[in-house]
Symmetry: C2
Subunit: 405 residues, 2 copies
């Protein structure tokens, strides 16, 4: 079965796995004999500007595809562009479909998170309205792991693996002195605590893990927090705490905003601050050494320590997307369905994009324990299979080497 020309784009925040999905799309399209495989520069903006990369040329060798697979960030470039509603701006839609026609595109693939699936939804429904034959398929991507209808998302496993490893290393580093000290690790996830929960996987024979873990799924109370820390400090010197960047108080205000609201710098500028730093300031009353560590973008691009499981699944999700499109599927996203945990088995299916776009999936309450200060042991069963295995980087002069267009 030979397919027509395809175009693929990447959108939203980069991850360590989004290029693996791109490699999967490319490989499947190549295997199915696609004549032209285009990459759009900076997502949908690349369509509107007709900025394409001819992937058949630039990814000519298998070794390049392999290197792309383990390269972090969005090799095609990304965007934060959200399509307007068709009622408000049909011209943009017409322009996109004109350009897709000009390049004789049969299949459109978009790798991304919530917002990107909104793009797939809008384009596929507009396509249906005008009777277009072009198929539109979404390939999931987000370290946040917050897309609905899928067991997990590509990119999450590698970020979770890095977070678990970094947490253990930070705990080792923080625990050397015989005096009280509090370290707060701030982990990504504005609305969902999946990444912060992964810090618990640092626990094992060699490490006790974080002493306290706070997810954004529970309202955060600063006074209660200080009390929790005090209690831990009565038991040990080095207290290490994992917090989500998205912690909010009972009114729904982000902690980083509520604590930083009156702050100005030497030049009178309002100060924005990270949650971890704001919380260490709240611990001044404890008169001990404090440190805030923000994992920042390091947690989403640490391709020097990928989860093999995550990268292989990310590749496969791209591959399956193309296979589905070749059978005429459209307006769908590839989703992951866990068949069993021991042994870990996964099935790839398709889900209606209308049930996914702009939706979010939080950490279920069953995983949140000890009054919202920890996660359950059972969440390990969920996360652990996703961080298994490694891809050794291709070192060059002592530093990992990656693919660049």
């Amino acid at each position: 079965m030979k397919i027509g020309n395809i175009v693929v784009g990447q959108s939203g925040g980069p991850t360590s796995a989004i290029n693996a999905s791109l490699a999967g799309v490319f490989q499947a399209a190549k295997d199915l004999g696609a004549e032209k495989i285009y990459g759009m520069r900076h997502g949908i903006e690349g369509i509107l500007k007709e900025e394409f990369i001819n992937l058949s040329q630039t990814l000519g060798s298998d070794s390049k595809v392999q290197l792309l697979k383990i390269t972090p960030s969005s090799a095609l470039g990304s965007c934060r562009y959200k399509l307007p509603k068709v009622e408000k701006d049909e011209q943009t839609y017409q322009k996109i479909f004109d350009i897709l026609k000009k390049y004789d595109i049969s299949h459109f693939f978009y790798i991304g998170g919530n917002d990107s699936m909104d793009t797939i939804q809008k384009l596929s429904s507009y396509g249906a309205r005008i009777g277009s034959n072009i198929t539109f398929i979404g390939i999931p991507k987000t370290i946040d792991n917050d897309l609905p209808l899928t067991d997990h998302t590509p990119g999450y496993g590698s970020a979770a693996k890095y977070i678990a490893a970094a947490t253990k290393e930070v705990i080792y580093d923080a625990s050397v002195y015989p005096f009280p000290a509090v370290t707060i690790m701030e982990i990504m996830g504005r609305d969902a605590g999946w990444l912060t929960a992964a810090s618990s996987l640092s626990r094992g024979e060699d490490c006790d893990g974080p002493d306290l873990i706070y997810l954004p799924e529970r309202p955060f109370d600063v006074e209660q927090f200080v009390d929790n820390v005090k209690e831990k400090m009565s038991q040990k010197y080095a207290v290490v705490i994992a917090v989500s960047e998205g912690l909010r108080d009972a009114t729904g205000t982000y902690i980083c905003d509520s604590l930083a609201s009156k702050k100005v710098d030497a030049f009178g500028h309002r100060q924005l601050e990270c949650t971890g730093k704001a919380l260490t300031n709240m611990l001044e009353v404890l008169h001990c050494k404090t440190r805030a560590i923000e994992l920042n973008t390091l947690q989403r691009c640490a391709a020097h320590m990928l989860s093999k499981t995550d990268i292989d699944e990310s590749f496969q999700s791209g591959y399956e997307g193309v296979m589905a499109a070749s059978k005429g599927e459209t307006g769908k996203m590839v989703t992951f369905h866990r068949i069993s945990n021991t042994p870990y088995q996964l099935e790839y299916r398709l889900s209606d994009i209308n049930l996914i776009a702009n939706q979010q999936r939080s950490v279920p309450g069953k995983y949140i324990t000890k009054g919202g200060t920890d996660v359950s042991d059972s969440i390990r069963e969920y996360i652990e299979p996703l961080i298994q295995g490694e891809y050794t980087p291709q070192y060059k002069n002592g530093v990992p080497s990656y693919f660049r267009f």
Copy 2:
């Protein structure tokens, strides 16, 4: 040649390599037939409190020594204790020597940086004064690479490797959007810029490296900085800058202090802030997205990506220290001497502790270029051999596993 009982301690900030030196001391002492090999808990404080670990028992198997070698942080615990001057408090010295006598110690080893070498200096000269036969040998350790008389220091290579890799990954992550953005990476080193300079090793065919690099060896001018950034932004969207945490203005005031001096939080507390964050605030005038990434302790404990060269040398420095002590050497530190660069060859020697303690070694001016906004290509020849090779972590359930007493 059989040696008597030994005691070994770790001091100062932890690194990824300080346990490799401990493993080297242990292995040499074992090979030389030491009867008792003690580890002091929390450095010199462990002596004063008689808190020892019997390493012969706890490190009984070769596999444990191997695991210790690749374990980050200070397994024995560390301290920030600085010995008083003997004129002011001779009692403390008497107490230390009484305890060393009680445990029949022949050789004392201290693994650490500037302050730790001060301890070796004081104890060895006091020992000489009272006619003690105990030898005192310092094993160098600091990621800062700022000890004199040694080509480089154990721990630097692994930190430099991590920094080079993280810089490349951050640049990949920061470069995906088609709009202006500035990312500032803050790297450790209060007085010496060796670590910040290592960010330049991210440069290669696949990465242009940081656009600007500022070391603490040059006075930092905020206005000039903003101009430098403006110029870079006229050439490209994503500007990535590496700065040392220890940047100071012409008066010698740390930038993080001078910019943060008037800041208070919502509760009126004075705000301490990192250099990178303070500098992003200065870029508000450019009206673009900014982000500060502080590598923080992640850069000194990232044992999931060690430099094999560094770890092997760190082990060997401990080993050589014991060999030297067994020959009666005292009041010395093990130093590294580079015999050749191609092929890279190193020789271990001993240097007089009086020439090392409390001294610092900065990045020479020849390596600092472009008006203090970059480092020369030639610094690569110096750093690159130190980051070669890797040790694959011992993964357990998907996460690196380490040694713990």
